[in-house]
Symmetry: D4
Subunit: 251 residues, 8 copies
């Protein structure tokens, strides 16, 4: 951003751009205003990265408009999260879209070849946590990460997890998806040598209070290297895991 700003200032100094035009440019360039949404074209333009649309609370019509705007600007890889099956059908009529009903994710373009540091492991406490886990795993894949699924390894049957220590030890980042008491995050955090991203799920009943129990449990983890994202936020975990898994590019 600093560089862009500097370029614009230099253009102004050298008379290539008028003051008002520069002002306008600073204002208008980074997004397209659709009224109901300001479509961010900033990240892709700058970084060539794919873009994300959070589907909840948006109508299919709004999503189609956002998608079309993005595609017109050359953005051909877009991820749609929290996308209902019906909405996906409606969008597919207008825009080519791959849709996965378990994770409720849709995307345009293809999944890329993985290119991160290592593997992103996605573990779940139980079978019911799979939809959130799939949101995380598919997001990670979409952003170029190799992913390994390790499902139904909850701490009440510890041998299931311990028998896969090789997967745990070989991970670059681990996403732990668990509801109820969320203890899996602490156990994995204690066993692993890599960052652990804990995703509490709303799976459970009674005093799980819609994921609150797992959330608090994960925040209070006595294992180091564990951080937490919002309840059921598989996308956030998958995105962050990918970011960490591509760290070496920063040096």
């Amino acid at each position: 951003m600093k560089t862009e700003m500097k370029t614009i200032l230099e253009d102004v100094r050298d008379g290539r751009v008028s003051v008002d035009d520069a002002l306008l440019k600073l204002k208008m360039q980074p997004f397209e205003d659709l009224g109901f949404a300001k479509v961010d074209l900033h990240r892709p333009v700058r970084q060539g990265q794919p873009e994300v649309i959070y589907g909840a609370g948006k109508t299919p019509e709004q999503m189609v408009k956002i998608l079309e705007t993005m595609m017109q600007k050359g953005q051909d890889r877009v991820l749609l999260t929290r996308l209902g099956e019906e909405a996906a059908e409606k969008i597919r009529v207008k825009v080519p879209l791959t849709y996965d009903p378990v994770s409720r994710i849709g995307y345009t373009g293809n999944l890329p070849t993985p290119d991160g540091i290592g593997k992103v492991v996605v573990a779940t406490g139980g079978t019911s946590d799979i939809p959130v886990a799939e949101e995380a795993a598919l997001t990670a894949s979409f952003f170029g990460n190799e992913t390994v699924r390790l499902y139904d390894v909850g701490v009440a049957g510890l041998h299931r997890l311990l028998s896969r220590m090789d997967v745990i030890m070989g991970a670059s980042v681990i996403i732990v998806v668990a509801g109820m008491e969320g203890a899996l995050a602490s156990v994995v955090g204690g066993l692993a040598d890599c960052p652990v991203i804990a995703v509490p799920t709303s799976v459970g009943y009674g005093a799980s209070f819609g994921g609150l129990s797992a959330l608090l449990s994960m925040l209070n983890s006595c294992a180091s290297g564990v951080s937490v994202v919002n309840i059921d936020n598989g996308f956030g975990a998958g995105y962050l895991a990918g970011m960490i898994n591509h760290m070496e590019a920063k040096k």
Copy 2:
């Protein structure tokens, strides 16, 4: 009210009104008792202001009765909030009504020409906050304010907001409508020179707890000049904004 009271007392002193009649007058004048509702005719009679019916929890039949009572007393501009589409249809059969399905607002009469100090700006964090924002904006319009909509300017893409600093700086009052973490209220509060009314929305999932997260965030805003109304209370924000925007009339 003091003046009215004094007038009645003077009427009693001068024998124009008997004691019991005066007592009755003090009791009966300000509203019409429909049994299930006491229709307030106080404000309009005193101030010529339009009146408001909170629609939630009222049947279409009850609302029609209240509307008819008001219109008989000469109240021709009435706002109905939290009005479902079906209920609006049923009312429209009996009483002429303009209805907006996004904000779920209905009103009789016309929107007036704006006459406040300046502009009421309504900003949202995202697209999903628009229904609440429209409730605020339409309410403000109904009470005679010029309104400017600034939608989808959440803090995760700060350039969208910063590119519209002219709107922020030119506002008389700003209504910030945001769910999830509600951070927009603080950022706008720090940029603006005018009162900011923050409206937390129930938009979000997981640990947003139906708007609690945004509510707490806004109450704890470190920016000065920010106050908060109830979750999803677009009407309250629009009404208060109008009140502030018409302040000069007080002097």
Copy 3:
């Protein structure tokens, strides 16, 4: 801010300022970096307004340094909130300061002559709410507002409030400070024609849960024109009241 930005761009275009210097200017000008604090010199320089230091969590030494920096830049009127008596003593040795132990407010310079639209009324439910009310009232006075105190008018003895309807009706803005059930905000909101700023206080016991009861009550007020600030946030209410009371300046 737009204007400042434009001026700098024009200076760059006309060769009066180099690109790097302009960049630096944009970065460095608005505040003084003390390491532990970035002293905001933005508002006063631009607007001639007094400045505020939030005292909680700062050592007397830190506050003295911030005050001295401000005074060196020509800022002679500063308000310090949440200032303990001992800390005030230590500061007074270095910087001339007026201190009020009830509101725990200190300030440099003098209280100005009131110049707003009308009166800022500060009402409390009980005697115990007075410290928070005084923080609000003194803040309002410090920012140039005429203030009227209306203390101990809680709704359990409604005649105390009703006997002062003249004060309520003559207000430009009303600050309602109440703990326990916080009902005063709704009652005043229903009686008054002006904006009401509700300040829940942590006064109470048992199920008042440190002000939560009053906070929720005020957020759910069925009276229009009421908004809420944080529990015990007398300063925020006083500042916002002053902002609203000076609205005409905007036109």
Copy 4:
């Protein structure tokens, strides 16, 4: 109970009843065991009072069986609360029943002539609180109390309440039914000379949290003589009001 116990002991002493039979009598007499329910026949037998069935969570079949058992034992006046319209229809096929869809109350037998000390006043903050208020009022009527309804007198329009001071001052017990901020309980509590039973309702939205706001507000009432029952518990309030209104019988 002491007297019954003593009678049984005397019967045992005088040989009129064997030890085992006495033991059995103590065990079996007070209720009829239907397996899924132990029908209480204690109160009516002892006191000639009508009986109550809490309808929520019971099937129509279960309620019919309980009713039939009661009627066989000579209990001809029974109140059924939380009774859905469909369930009422099914019961009516088997047992004569009067049903009121607003309060969701059904009862067998007739409403008695009022015989308490004075009037039970039922006041509501708004129109949406009426179902809970009707549950209270009908319960009070069923237990022999004269009831007066005072609906839609919320504190945001205080004149509606103040104009009916005669009703307030003439009450024996007042039931205040209010959602949202629940301030009505404190205001009525301050005006009245009699016990006030506050019923928070789940009416409201956002930070009303299903009645929690009104509940806390009422518990923290600064007015003396106010006590609180569970959210939406109109029955509990009506029953207690009747108990208080019949106090003189105790002397």
Copy 5:
């Protein structure tokens, strides 16, 4: 209040009082304004009842001033609640005061001879609940009720309660004071034939959350005739019990 209002209006009509004086009278009469407090002289003047000062949050100096004002107006029986031992000492220097350190109650004048319908029974779950229970009992005594103490009858040792059924059955009103799980209110409510006022206490640890557990338990009581006051609000319970115990005066 209606009667007073009518008298004043009649005085105005008959020329005995001028309009302005009447207005003033309506405003000024019911209380004495001390600035920090508006001393209520309304109830005693009208009803000859003793008056109450809530001591928490008031300085000894403030309480002395309020007491002196009350005594000058002929109010010789005043109850002070939540009064610390030190504050009581300071007050006693100026005003004759009886002080009880367990209930933290002070009062001027003497305890009256009981004159209610029957007995106010005060029961506690454990020994730790006694201070709150004493606040209730002493308040009830101060307002002219015969009180019976039934301490340490918690439900974990049910025989302690059942052995005192005579006290339970002979009560006019029962105040149940309990912390922890607060089950005593339901058990007593099921055994007694009279109104039960439940006072949750903050006694307990862990998941009692400062009395929340007992509060919720009491609000959800499945026994009829139970209502609840704020956590630790012994005064409120004692006052309300007295009100109910004096009901016959209403007829």
Copy 6:
């Protein structure tokens, strides 16, 4: 587990098993990996015990696969909890299953002859608690315990419980299932000489907050020997009761 481990190590030492095979054996043996679930075959193999499938969040197809896997490994007695009626129908097509719609439990095989120390008593506060109680009772039966049902013995009608003291005193373990205020756990805990397992239910309304009230009440029980499981967790209580009832086998 130690023994198994030792056996494998001895096999390795004596050359009967290669290192890699041993490693594999340790990893793969205890469960069957179906991808979406890791079917635990550990307990039955080791202990000949029946196995449990938690049905919530699993599709009928997934449950059939798990069941088939278990049966292939010789596990013929399986309990399915939280099983909806429709899902049960679908499973029954593939696998013989007994289904109980009240407790929502299904199982393969037969209920065994009871062989524990004594009786497991299941008591409920009301009729609405029966589904959770049946889950507990059926689970206990499935694991070889004699069960006694004691329904609708809530504390508001204490005689219903006291008349069955023989059942209480003859119990080996008591499961108390109650919603609303949950007081039954404390009362039973005080009367009984055996471990009491308290199951809060989500039965209730208003301030019962989905079982929170009963949960807190039970956790704060002043009776010794009471412990608590999750809200509505009838299975957990039944399983634990069975474990305790079979304790003597440990010596």
Copy 7:
């Protein structure tokens, strides 16, 4: 109790006891009324068991009186929990007492020789949980159980726990004491074959909310056979563990 009741009835029948005396006997026998406490002499008289005094909220004087009353009735083994060091000193002047400052437990008499089924294992997550664990362990010892301590085996370093599988597998009952995320309960519950009593502790900071996090985590444990007692309730866990460990006596 049934038997006692029957004996008394037989005495009455045979003329050995008069009706009134029998009534008195039923009432007075089981406890000694000290006014502030009703000392339970029921259990020991009936069962020869030691007795417990909950020390929190009782003065040393009150505890001495209770102790003396118990000892006069032949109760020589009494446990005092939540006993501060200072209070212990004061009691020791009057009554011989062994005091342990870590668990804050005092007791009269000697620790008995263990006689239960097997071992009660007390495990903690960390070093800070030791005081609560010692309360549990000492209580279990006092009631005749052999106890094994397994401290600082939190799940973040799983090998510490796994290396002591022999202790886990050899336990009769396991008490798991843990704060923060409380995951240890689930892990132990999954490894062990015996009942697990989970004790959440208030150890932790931030989002542990005084033990709430561990409490919810433990309630939501996905391991079977786990139940929970109140936060920091080491006594309750130790007592219940002893009850379970002595189960065989029931048959």
Copy 8:
């Protein structure tokens, strides 16, 4: 761990180690049991990493013993967190220790030369957040990271943050430490290209509820790449940041 296990198995196969010794080795090797603590010697032995002692809830004597055990095993770099000033003094008498009173961190050995991918930036919303920020920064330094402090850049004065975009853009990982509304995490998350670790602090008052407001706000962040650790958990953030900053080592 797999490798170690394999090695031991190979040793057993080849007769170099007996079965029992192997079993013992697996059990005993990784930690030293001090009774009150099991000192983890696992990570350092395997990885040459420094070790951490969580100081809260441990006595100075316990910490000295743990430190001495570690040093005897060759562990010369140890970090002590949550270490009070007094405790630090007592430890320093026995073990050489550097202590920082602001972060309350102590450590043995020296801070290493930074060797991660890039810079760990630690930003705070205000001055009061500095202690937590310093805990994070010092922890990161101790684990070999270059750290940059960016204090007092809260969103209410956005220019303070925007003027340091170079620091934000040049970061490898950013730790955002903020109390009150915690909005800084979202704003930084939207501006940065790297992982953001959000640390809510307990700084604030009223509705900040000890950090809950900031915590919820951060969990609900609409910016991607943000995860959250426990309230005030500066250590956790610093440790995780270091882990991420050293990611390249994994490839």
